[in-house]
């Protein structure tokens, strides 16, 4: 088992990065790896609730975020600075996340075996 951290840096919908990151996260967890997710920069926009990607021809992959506990993905972190940059507070987020500052994110990235950036 390895500690795999998946870093979401890109906004949802405009590219497929976020969707393919989440696919990989769920698959890794189902292979019993210790998976953590970190949302930073534009990636924090994944967490905004009530999105309707079908209206722009997208797939509602964000709904799968609600299934993270079913996959035993408990470590879900968001960058405090990035949330602030986009004006996002807890009440606007679709799932519970732990908000970390830069130092704590940096420490987490050092503590895992592999980091995949999407």
């Amino acid at each position: 088992m390895k500690k795999i951290c998946i870093l979401f840096r890109s906004a949802p919908h405009g590219t497929t990065k976020g969707r393919e990151a989440l696919d990989f996260a769920l698959l890794s967890a189902s292979f019993e790896q210790e998976v953590s997710l970190v949302f930073v920069d534009e990636g924090v926009l994944h967490l905004l609730k009530d999105q309707q990607p079908e209206l722009i021809g997208g797939k509602d992959y964000l709904a799968a975020l609600k299934a993270l506990p079913l996959y035993d993905i408990e470590s879900v972190f968001a960058c405090k600075q990035s949330l602030g940059d986009y004006g996002l507070s807890h009440s606007l987020l679709s799932i519970p996340v732990t908000i970390l500052n830069d130092e704590a994110i940096s420490a987490h990235l050092k503590a895992v075996d592999e980091v995949l950036v999407f």
């Binding site: 390895k2 795999i4 890794s28 292979f31 995949l116 999407f118």
Partner: protein, 129 residues
């Protein structure tokens, strides 16, 4: 010596990701490191199409990957779902889905994301491009 698994997320043309990945893989092998496999994900699956036809004075990175695979017995694995979404189709999938054409020959094999995860587990280090 280390065991590496290489992930390629960039296409054959348009970004330098694939060429950088190929150079890194070649250098790793020359230095005696082991490559578990090269896994093509996201737009990286565009590296496996036979329908890339760069001009004769341009570098053909797809050819480079095929040569590397043949010379060093490194397996080149496409994420099948990422590939099919992007029109990257092997002969077997073309037949199964009633398509008249296919564009991936046997140098690249279609696999699942599970191969990436098990590869990561067996490797010392994952390197993404």
């Amino acid at each position: 010596m280390s065991k590496f698994i290489i992930q390629v997320n960039g296409p054959a043309y348009g970004t330098s990701a694939s060429v950088n990945a190929l150079r890194f893989t070649q250098a790793s092998l020359q230095s005696g490191h082991e490559i578990v496999c090269v896994f093509f994900y996201q737009d990286g699956v565009y590296n496996s199409t036979d329908f890339n036809l760069p001009a004769s004075d341009e570098y053909d990175v797809v050819k480079g990957w095929k040569q590397l695979a043949a010379e060093h017995q490194v397996s080149l694995v496409n994420c099948v779902s990422a590939a099919l979404r992007r029109g990257i189709v092997s002969q077997q999938e073309a037949q199964e889905n009633g398509l008249n054409h296919w564009n991936v020959e046997h140098s690249f094999i279609m696999g699942g994301l599970g191969e990436l995860v098990t590869g990561i587990e067996s490797a010392d280090r994952l390197i993404c491009f």
